[in-house]
Amino acid sequence: MKTIIRLAGIMILLWAAGLADNAQESQADHAVVSFSNPAKPGTVEVDISEGSITVRGYEGKDVVIDARWRERVLTKEEQEQEAALAEGGEELDQEELARKKAQAEKAKGMKTIEVESMGLTIEEEENVIQVNAEEGKRAVDLVIQVPFSTSLRLSCRDDERGVTVDRVDGEIEVETSDGPIVLTNVSGPVVADSSDGEIKAVFGKVVPGKPMSFSTMEGDVDITLPFDVKASLKMKTDEGKIFTDFDVQLKPSQQKKEEDERKEGGGYRVSFEKVTLGLINGGGVEIQITTYEGNVYIRKAK
């Protein structure tokens, strides 16, 4: 079953209403989408370039999406283009310049109404719900309610507000460029990456067996784990520091691993591992953490 909801139409109406009120700052969208097989845990995928994503687990079967559009913000490229156009188009190639000039000529004395292709696309196929915002348009703040066991794949680029997830037990994959990633009351395997943002994750419990990984270039990684968690940490940081209040059994940071199995017909291998390996409660779930400048905090839940 494939369902596609296009909210652009509704948007136009809402926008028209907003124009009448002269209150065009924020417009809200609301959509309820159900999984084709609600008995099985579904997946929600969200990919937006500008905006923020907030996901909360709730005691329902459907996915409830609320979108709030922000004031139109020009992207960096558009700003550069406008500036270039204002300066006589030196930065643009000839074809592009001619087109822009022609367009500007046509629009003389008129004001812009932004209605075209502004919107959200929601698709459902084989228990996967995809939410996409068209690129280069206005920034959108999404609030999505999902059943507790839903898995999430969230991507939010080019925005300061980032991704927030609360009370979701499924697997969570998140990536942001600048915004922070804040996960609370989660338990499934988390794989999170941010270029400049902080990653914070508070686990209510940890599902054993499935590896996790957190990476950020400039932000900190701050993880809270249950006191009795069994975990094997693999931490790598170039300039950051590692802090913890767990009783971590540490292995030396630069370890030369030598395996000589030639006598038994095996191989010989020497390897250097430039990582800090630490075991909590004897080791268990593999947790890989990579930062460049950021610090790493491994906290014990109180």
Partner: protein, 273 residues
């Protein structure tokens, strides 16, 4: 014969256990050695006195106590007889197989030990080479199993499962071309930064594989994540891969390159040359 030797033999002399030759030798010595004669006489006196000591008889009370103890022991074993275990029946039958006389028992155990040792030796000589090929075979099978698991996990939609695939592949002793290819593909094409980072660490373990070094150098140009770029540069510097110099120089030329990665790449160049 010296006095010392005579005194060693004095006990046997008194007991009358010396052969003809020794007996005459002792007699000749005693004839002209008063010291030895005297010694032997005193010894002989003790010998006789020991012989006339009365034999120790157990008292009546000792006899009674012994029979009381025996009764108590019998009662105890009667209680236990009701619950004869498999072990006891087994040991009973084994006991019946065992010869009654200790000498035969010892002989039998020696024969069994010899048979065990001999058999074991023969077996080990014959099967040592077979066992070795069997162990190598098993190791190979475990490796094959890991390969299959790793490659199939690396193709999953879940990034956590792909991470698991990377950590499985790191456990393979001899990864083979398929695993190396899949890991390099993961490094170049996996949409998740974390999985790509894990792939760099896993490939680190196999850098002596011919395709790995070239693959790592090639991958440097295509990476977009600064963390993966840094991780690759660190690795190439660590394994002193001089062929990476050209790739690093090209990377530095890229205007969009993260300034921190650029700094690391420039440092890497000086470290490699």
């Amino acid at each position: 014969m010296k006095c010392e030797q005579i005194r060693e033999k004095s006990a046997d002399y008194l007991a009358g256990e010396l052969d003809e030759k020794s007996l005459s030798e002792v007699r000749v010595h005693l004839a002209h050695c008063p010291a030895c004669r005297e010694e032997l006489e005193s010894l002989s006196a003790i010998w006789t006195k020991l012989g006339v000591l009365p034999k120790e008889q157990p008292s009546g009370s000792l006899r009674i106590r012994f029979y009381e103890m025996l009764e108590a022991y019998k009662k105890g074993t009667e209680k236990d007889r009701d619950k004869i275990s498999l072990g006891q029946t087994l040991s009973y039958w084994l006991g019946r197989l065992m010869p009654r006389r200790p000498a035969y028992q010892i002989a039998l155990s020696l024969i069994l030990i010899a048979a065990g040792l001999g058999g074991g030796f023969l077996l080990s000589v014959r099967s040592r080479s077979a066992a070795r090929t069997e162990v190598t075979g098993l190791r190979g099978e475990v490796d094959d199993m890991r390969r299959i698991v790793a490659v199939s996990l690396l193709k999953q939609a879940s990034p956590s499962e792909r991470l698991m695939g990377v950590s499985w592949s790191a456990r393979i002793d001899r990864p083979g071309d398929e695993v190396i290819q899949t890991l390099l593909e993961t490094l170049n094409r996996d949409p998740n930064v974390n999985v790509r980072l894990a792939a760099v660490d896993a490939l680190y373990l196999f850098y002596d594989h011919p395709e790995v070094k070239a693959g790592l150098i090639h991958s440097l140009a295509g990476q977009t994540s600064p963390l993966v770029q840094l991780s690759l540069i660190n690795l190439l510097v660590e394994i002193r891969e001089r062929r990476a110099v050209e790739a690093l120089e090209r990377l530095i030329q890229d205007e969009k390159l993260n300034p921190k990665v650029k700094k690391r790449a420039e440092l890497g160049l000086t470290q490699l040359s």
